[in-house]
């Protein structure tokens, strides 16, 4: 096992091999690939950078009330605008329903979502009509002239009110979309065994993905196929788009562009159904780019969670039982809410051993913008709560925060509350010690000129899954070939969020087939031409497609090795592939270049291409028993922070930040660090500034200027320390790191603020106003160790 780190301070780190660890030549190096070159050059063509002859410009007309009966949509005025080619309403959609994938048929309600509102409006921003015109100006003018008549209906805006018997129903079936439970042991007995029981209620907020690239795409029809070139994480929406159009699935092609960020916000369909409908109806190419303000108001958000925790511990800090109750605000339509709340239940106890657990989570519908996938996917929000509970336990027992955690950290072989064993090593303790050590000496308080500034330090640990829940029987394929000149070509349906998903596959395949990274090219994300990879979400692509790349590279070598062995007159098992050559190891040994081998294979009729599929572990979950198999594996980590709190203004300044995760093995250290640093900065926004406020169903602002994404002046340099346990289920022992890095941040910052002012923040974002309220003893302060019965979950 090794630990590697980045700046600062670089010099403090024991140098590891300058090339790569453990005999690798490509894997483990900070090599940059085609994507980075295109991006620094500015030549990468994103979804909006696409023009076609005769192209139309689309605009979505959206509802302006949160709950209403849709009386009529009059398109006459809009249609008469010069340049307008089509104005579509619900009746124009062949199958006006987007099926929700739900949670895999484990008990959630099915609630249909129309492509365009037909009889009901359920949130501000819901699509009502589509316009396509020959210029953006004409489309915009026409969109404003679509006359929508509403009959407003009662609405519900919070999850507590929505669960009341007489609450207005967002959908006829009711407002509780799904209730999950995870149960193990005997919680009452466990609580009775406890010397101390601590309780807390925690609240998180609705936040926006705020990728720099707004949702966008171009669609056209040729060869009888509707083709969409869009910014999407999931090209597998193609059949759903076809169903909406009433076409065979084979008649829709989805090409994913390299994205300007996604973070889960491009996991559900965004522009796709609108583009497809307009292109199919008009027969012309159509472009649609959501305006930033439209994206803020109308596209999916992160779920606000209300989290109630009750934790029983012995005097020595050992957890005896934990009760958890989580409610997530799903907004007006299901999207992926059922799965998000499932992930919350499965990870609610964090990286700790909890022998007796009772966990309930539910998704509740309200008349607000729908929530869905967002980096961390339910497992992120609960970190804020379970880490607060651990700090509270430490405080109540007079133990250190590290001691309490060390006593309860999971180990390989331990059984999770879901009843399944932890299958890989758990190095969370090591990440904790590493992060705290690197935080360095404490900053001084009371510097001249800032007598009101208090310094605080804190940390937080987490457990975040990588890979889809195992009941999806997940799989991914890679098509890999040796071209006539000996270079490699990799094709994969993977989509690239910007995290280097495509380049990482190249690094893995290049390593195994033994070619320089410059000698491999990659085509990704085209449902017509690349094999299915299953979408880029759930921190699954390095895990899934990375393993598929290993398999393809291994299969490819096995395919061509007999030919090489025959020509060179050696046994197959003596061959090694390196530097674009194959032959027996040894300086003077004979060899073939891959070009020579490819030529010989061609002459003999032996294929130099393989398509290999990798299957993830599978399992089942019993929702009634609350027991079963959930995620393939987890990534663990710890973040440590030092903050300065100005007790006069309430302002929190993050002075130092260290993030440490066990990633199993780094495929590319530069990209791992980038993921972690970016995750932390995004997490700091969640912790301190970001919120999409909605007042009585109406967005309080649609301006990007009011949505406070951390800028360069808001955040400290994030120091990254990486543990490589060598033990993950990804390729070459890697674990996923896309989502895990955002999980710890809010909890670490809250812990540091508590250290500074003596009060624990229990709500995010921890704005200056909230800090001042805490200092003044009002608002969301956490009374330590409040006793009392936890409200029992409703019948299910």
């Amino acid at each position: 096992m090794t630990t590697r780190t980045a700046r600062p301070p670089r010099t403090a780190v024991p140098p590891s091999s300058p090339v790569a660890a453990e005999g690798f030549r490509v894997v483990g190096t900070p090599a940059v690939h085609h994507d980075f070159v295109d991006k620094v050059e500015g030549s990468l063509r994103y979804a909006a950078d696409w023009e076609m002859p005769g192209m139309l410009y689309a605009k979505v007309v959206r509802a302006q009330v949160p709950s209403a009966r849709l009386v009529s949509v009059d398109v006459k005025m809009a249609s008469s605008v010069h340049g307008v080619v089509a104005v579509l309403v619900a009746d124009d959609v062949p199958h006006n329903q987007i099926l929700s994938e739900g949670a895999g048929g484990l008990g959630e309600l099915e609630m249909p979502m129309p492509v365009l509102a037909d009889d009901r409006i359920r949130y501000v921003g819901e699509p009502v009509a589509l316009v396509a015109a020959t210029s953006p100006q004409a489309a915009e003018e026409a969109a404003e002239l679509v006359a929508v008549e509403y009959e407003e209906l009662p609405a519900v805006f919070d999850t507590v009110a929505a669960q009341q018997q007489d609450a207005p129903k967002v959908h006829d079936k009711g407002n509780v979309l799904v209730t999950w439970q995870v149960r193990s042991g005997d919680v009452d007995a466990g609580m009775a065994e406890a010397d101390v029981v601590v309780e807390g209620t925690y609240q998180s907020q609705r936040v926006e993905h705020a990728y720099l690239e707004p949702e966008a795409g171009v669609a056209w029809v040729d060869n009888g196929v509707v083709t969409l070139r869009v910014a999407t994480q999931v090209i597998e929406h193609g059949p759903e788009i076809a169903r909406i159009l009433g076409l065979p699935a084979s008649k829709v092609r989805v090409i994913a562009t390299y994205m300007g960020g996604g973070f889960g916000g491009k996991e559900d369909m965004t522009v796709e159904p609108y583009l497809a409908l307009l292109a199919w109806r008009t027969g012309r190419p159509v472009k649609l780019v959501f305006e930033r303000q439209e994206s803020i108001v109308a596209t999916t958000k992160r779920h606000p969670f209300t989290m109630r925790y009750r934790t029983g511990v012995r005097r020595d800090g050992t957890i005896t039982a934990q009760e958890v109750d989580v409610t997530g605000d799903a907004g007006a339509y299901p999207y992926l809410s059922a799965r998000v709340l499932f992930a919350a239940a499965a990870t609610a106890c964090g990286p700790y051993r909890v022998p007796n657990a009772s966990i309930v989570s539910r998704a509740v519908l309200t008349n607000q913008v729908p929530t869905s996938a967002f980096r961390g996917f339910g497992a992120m929000q609960v970190t804020f709560a379970y880490e607060a509970q651990m700090d509270l336990v430490a405080k109540r027992l007079g133990l250190s925060a590290t001691e309490v955690r060390e006593r309860n950290f999971l180990q390989k072989g331990d059984v999770l509350p879901t009843g399944e064993p932890v299958q890989t090593c758990v190095e969370v303790g090591r990440t904790m010690r590493e992060a705290l050590e690197r935080l360095g000496p404490r900053a001084e308080e009371g510097r001249p000129g800032s007598p009101h500034v208090r310094i605080g330090r804190g940390f937080a640990c987490n457990r975040q899954p990588y890979g889809r829940t195992v009941w999806f029987r997940d799989r991914a394929s890679v098509w890999l070939s040796i071209e006539p000149d000996g270079t490699l070509l990799l094709r994969s349906g993977v989509t690239d969020l910007g995290g280097g998903q495509a380049a990482s596959l190249c690094q893995i395949a290049a390593e195994i087939v033994g070619v320089p990274l410059a000698d491999i090219s990659v085509y990704i994300g085209d449902s017509a031409l690349t094999p299915p990879a299953g979408g880029t979400f759930a921190t699954r692509q390095l895990f899934m497609s990375g393993n598929a790349a290993v398999k393809a590279a291994t299969d490819l070598k096995a395919l061509v090795a007999p030919v090489a062995a025959d020509i060179l007159g050696v046994r197959e098992d003596m061959l090694s592939f390196a530097d674009g050559r194959v032959g027996p190891a040894g300086v003077s040994a004979p060899y073939l270049t891959l070009a020579e081998l490819a030529s010989e294979c061609n002459r003999r009729g032996v294929s130099t291409a393989v398509m290999s599929t990798w299957h993830a572990p599978v399992g089942t979950f019993d929702p009634r028993a609350g027991q079963g198999h959930t995620f393939p594996d987890y990534t663990y980590g710890t973040h440590a922070a030092e903050v300065a709190v100005d007790t006069e203004t309430g302002e929190v300044t993050v002075l130092r930040y260290v993030a440490c995760h066990d990633v199993g093995r780094m495929i590319n250290p530069l990209r791992v660090e980038g993921q972690v640093q970016g995750g932390v900065v995004q997490g700091l926004g969640y912790a301190l500034t970001e919120e999409v406020p909605i007042v009585d169903g109406i967005p309080a602002s649609m301006l990007f200027a009011d949505y406070l994404v951390p800028n360069s002046h808001d955040v400290p340099d994030v120091e990254v320390a990486i543990v490589e346990s060598g033990e993950g289920k990804g390729p070459l022992g890697a674990r996923g790191i896309g989502e895990p890095a955002i999980g710890n941040v809010a909890a670490a910052i809250a812990s540091a603020i508590e250290d500074a002012i003596g009060v624990r923040p229990t709500s995010t974002p921890i704005t200056p106003e909230r800090v001042l309220e805490m200092i003044d003893g009002v608002g969301s302060a956490q009374p330590a160790g409040r006793e009392g019965p936890l409200e029992r979950p409703a019948d299910r």
């Binding site: 590697r4 980045a6 700046r7 091999s17 300058p18 900070p30 090599a31 940059v32 690939h33 980075f36 070159v37 991006k39 620094v40 050059e41 500015g42 030549s43 990468l44 994103y46 909006a48 950078d49 023009e51 008469s80 605008v81 010069h82 340049g83 020959t134 210029s135 953006p136 004409a138 003018e141 990728y211 720099l212 690239e213 707004p214 390299y258 994205m259 960020g261 930033r292 910007g498 995290g499 320089p516 990274l517 410059a518 780094m666 250290p669 530069l670 660090e673 980038g674 993921q675 640093q677 970016g678 995004q682 301006l703 994404v709 800028n711 360069s712 002046h713 955040v715 340099d717 994030v718």
Partner: protein
Amino acid sequence: MTTDRDVTGREGAEAYTLRVNGREVRVAARPSRSLLDVLHDDLGLGEVRYGCGEGVCGTCTVLVDGEAVSACLMFVAQAEGHEITTLSGLASLAGDAAATEVHARGRALHPLQQSFLRNGALQCGFCTPGMILAAHALVERVGQPTREEVAYELVGNLCRCTGYAKIFDAVAEYAGAAADGTRARHVEPVSDHGSVAS
């Protein structure tokens, strides 16, 4: 409803002569058309990107007479008579041309672009052109900015993917090399630098 706009949306267009990346171009646009739309849609400069239309995010940053400006907030009519530089024109800026390297695919990268590449100062790349141009303007103005000065200067260029540390590193490395006349020279797309993570 009648409209006096023709179907291309160019009714009322006037002719403007702009200087973009060292070349004179003539465009027909309504005076209120944004510089962003002219550069991206009319001139095909894909590196000037719409991100918010409010001048908040910085993805449409261009240099106007060497100063970083949000092209979404500028009308085309205001751009006449000024020297406009986008990322693809950075390599050809006077004074920098000699230091420009041709990278492996035969195209030119400015040393600041090379520094971003070496430092891995990007992920999705959407903010990168604006980020590089804003940083370039700063270095031209002050020479060797402190980390604090870089952080202050780049507040108008948001990065949502990779944080800012590597971007600061890239700017510092470029500014340092520029100041002592030793432009960094590694331009291989597959870099062997060991300054990070080892």
